[in-house]
């Protein structure tokens, strides 16, 4: 009796296997058609393949790397904030603007020859690094500060800084503050900032070092901080300089009412691209895209000058960078005119700055973001 049943079971199992093989054959023929539509219930994007775990993204890195993946896909997945004025924000017509968005476009122009071949993913501060680690985004341009712990611990690398930011304070000139005020003048003031950020830690550490007494009030988000400052609840507010300047330009009641100090920020916040660790080919591509915009800026090559630069009007270095010799870019796995596309479609560093940071009142001259030839920190290795 048991034997019969066992045979029956085996028969059923065999028929199941046969049936599944038939179905698998149907499925197999489908998969080979390079459709990648393995998943019916979800919208399929190419990034999904690499988004399902760490081991996966390592595999991808081994066979061809991010560069090959981006070239095969035809679009660059770029992580941005989407809600950071001047860095990356959504315009009324739905397009993404800002310096970070422009650097996404620059990388797309270098890799794919088309600055518009970008898919922007808006990431919150909490999501951003996971998105890089899992490969959901190829590169992260989300005003992220380059720190030792982030660079070494979380499995990602930082590219060259595109914007040197730093924490500053803003107060009312009516309270006796000026642009040359120092931090110890805020003794006894109510200082406001947003909760749970490093700005909070920075200011309280500094206060204890200087031995001054401040009342620190924190708010859930930055809009509330500025509202409280306008309402007079806060004497001083503090966050990254770029954030202060933007609000001063937009919301200051009368010019000169608000002042930003100290001239030297109380913290260093270098912001730049972030990408997954251990993919040096991709790292080179992103890094040299940033460098290309800096070198073009140093040589005064704007987007309208690219043909002249290619012809050698701006010297041999620019000609090489624009693809005059070709080899420099092709060795990296890019086309010879990769950086020609970057400069012609997006622009050099100064143009990117003028388009995004000047409108909110940020001045490049005299800041750390000036070119090294003008006393700033923007310095690119030579292209040769």
């Amino acid at each position: 009796m048991t034997r019969i049943r066992a045979r029956g079971l085996r028969g059923a199992a065999a028929s199941l296997v046969a049936l599944s093989l038939i179905v698998a054959a149907c499925g197999g023929s489908d998969d080979s058609s390079d459709d990648a539509s393995d998943d019916a219930s979800t919208e399929e994007t190419a990034s999904d393949d690499s988004a399902s775990g760490d081991s996966d993204s390592v595999e991808v890195t081994q066979d061809g790397g991010t560069l090959a993946a981006v070239q095969a896909r035809g679009t660059l997945n770029c992580g941005v904030s989407g809600a950071a004025v001047a860095f990356s924000y959504t315009q009324a017509d739905g397009s993404m603007e800002g310096i970070d968005a422009d650097y996404c476009r620059a990388v797309a122009a270098a890799v794919l020859g088309d600055a518009d071949a970008v898919e922007f993913t808006s990431l919150t501060a909490a999501e951003r690094f996971t998105a890089v680690q899992t490969g959901a985004v190829d590169v992260l341009m989300r005003n992220s500060t380059w720190t030792q712990s982030r660079d070494t611990e979380v499995g990602m690398d930082f590219g060259p800084t595109t914007y040197y930011d730093g924490q500053q304070l803003m107060a009312r000139s009516a309270d006796g503050f000026s642009g040359s005020s120092s931090v110890d003048e805020i003794d006894g003031a109510t200082v406001c900032t947003n909760a749970g950020t490093t700005t909070e830690t920075n200011i309280s550490e500094l206060a204890s070092i200087l031995g001054i007494d401040i009342t620190l009030t924190t708010f859930e988000d930055y809009d509330q901080v500025v509202d409280a400052f306008i309402a007079g609840t806060c004497d001083v507010i503090t966050t990254d300089g770029s954030g202060l300047v933007g609000r001063k330009a937009a919301q200051e009641p009368n010019a000169g009412d608000w002042v930003i100090f100290p001239a030297t920020p109380i913290s260093k916040e270098p912001l730049g691209p972030v990408y997954a660790q251990n993919d040096s080919q991709w790292a080179d591509v992103v890094n040299w895209t940033v460098f290309a915009t800096l070198i073009a800026d140093e040589n005064g090559v704007a987007s309208s000058d690219v043909d002249g630069a290619l012809a050698g009007d701006f010297g041999p270095e620019m000609s090489r960078l624009m693809g005059g010799e070709g080899e420099l870019q092709t060795v990296m796995g890019l086309s010879a005119d990769a950086f020609y596309n970057v400069i012609s479609q997006v622009g050099n560093y100064q143009e990117i700055w003028d388009a995004n940071l000047t409108p909110v009142g940020l001045d490049r001259a005299g800041s750390a973001n000036a070119s090294w030839t003008d006393g700033g920190l923007m310095y690119a290795p030579p292209a040769r």
């Binding site: 179905v23 459709d35 998943d39 019916a40 399902s52 775990g53 004025v85 924000y89 959504t90 739905g94």
Partner: protein, 604 residues
Amino acid sequence: MSDVTMTPTSPSNGASNRTSPLQWVRVNLFSSVSNTIQTIVFTAITLGLLRALLGQAFSEEADWTSVSTNLRLLMIYNYPADQIIRIWVSAAVVLLAAGLSLGAWKVEPGYTVGRLGRHLVGLGLFSLVTRLLLPVHAPDTVRTWLIIIGVVSLVAGVVVQRGDPDGDRVMGFGTVLSGVALTFLAVLWLVPFGQYGLVDGVLVAESGTTVASSTKVPWTVLLIIVVASHRVGIILGRALGRSLRAALAAFWVVGPAFVIFVILRDPAFDWAHVWSTDIPIAAMFGLGGAAVLYFVAAPGKTEVARAVGAMLFAFALFNWVAAFFGWYPMLQKVRISFLIFAIVVLLVPAFAGDRSTRRRVAGGWVAAMVVFHWLLTAINTESTLVITAPPFLGGFVLTVGIAYYVMLASFPLGVLLSLARTSKLPIFRVMSTGYIEVIRGVPLITVLFFFSIMLPLFLPKGMGISDLAAVFAGYTVFSAAYMAENVRGGLQSVRRGQYEAADALGLTTVQRTSLIVLPQALRVSIPNLVGQAIAVFKETSLIAIVGGFDLLRIANSTIPNQPDFLGQKRPGLLFISLVYFVFAYSMSKSSQRLEARLKDAQAR
């Protein structure tokens, strides 16, 4: 004002509350000293609140250009501007179906001419009071318009009310619909709306025109479609009756998916692939499945059906396990189709019958498979849209789309869960109770985080889930638990005798449940289910936290970060609260009407 007091009273109508306004005021508001004090105090508070709200809306720093400029962003987010006709076509399809449905089901609002008059008088008074309370900064056009609206509707209200002193002249739905449409059109064409968008000194939309003119024509067409399709629905409803209603019901299940994935998403079908793979698979499941169903739906084949169904079910489950371990590749839609097929085969003996029944079962299966596979293929095909920041849905469209499909998907799931919870089989009862209690014990935000962040990590290799799909799954799972409890309340109201009567007729469990118990239980739980639907609609605002761009996120973080509108949150938030309120309130109103109608039906 004096016009109102001169409204003729109907002294004979003492039983109803239709007295003169002055009398009504005396009886209801100033009947005693304490009532008078309460009336005065609460009127003062209400007026104070209104004044505060108006002060907020028209304060010097409140600049509504942030909303008017970003109106398109709020409605459709970054849907490509050159494809906007797709949005209008989608709206037309949905409104066409809505009009036809209202006609086919002969929905009557029970709105009387007298009530219209009262509402108009109320609107007129409200406008005039608002005009009086306006802060000094309010623009002159607003003052003028408020006076015009106030006086016109006051006079119109009084005139209309005279036409129906007894309040028993019921207006047909067509009339109400036409009236609403005409009012809307008048507002659209007469009220000058603001410019469409200055960004960095460049007009991003139709330069030199206004918002209204860019949407005037489409809206006019849409409103004509609604009114006309309502008429057509009534006429067709008379001619076709049940079959039209069945077709419309089917549309409301599949149609919105069609709208989203075919019209809005515009898949670029790879026809070679469709012919070589998609159509053969659909044909295999459709025709093969129909043959099997035709065979097992015969009376007396119950045992065979159970055996075949059980085998298929085991195989389907095995497929999913295999998928999880990545044993052999198979198209996901084949797996899903197998599972659905197995469940249908298991259920079908309950509806076994003569040749025509069997033919209907088989035909229904073929139709379902055609639609199902077509949609799956559309969903799986790359979109032709060029979207710089996917997904392609955002803003109000996302809010409505997600809310609708969560309601639709969580309803059957909720019914199944409630049935399982009231089942006699302990395993079902324990599992269902566990599920419901766990989900109800966890905040929605946790469930959403789990689905958007954790779920992708649990999926087998090579299988992905888009953000929107993950959020949709999370909402559905959450909402289903609440739906289940609502339906369970209904199930408990079905009397014992109904079960016994069904058993006495010799009905099987499935037949008893689907034909006798559920129809009664669901009718009782409809008000609660609508309440749950409203909750789902409002809870969609949590998408913002897990990465979607719904109304709230756009108003709360996108607009205040545009250089032109830096830090301007209030106008956007006020605007979206108005949008949420209008929709939630109309849903709640229609639920009240439904409730009243069901009460009537039960009393009869």
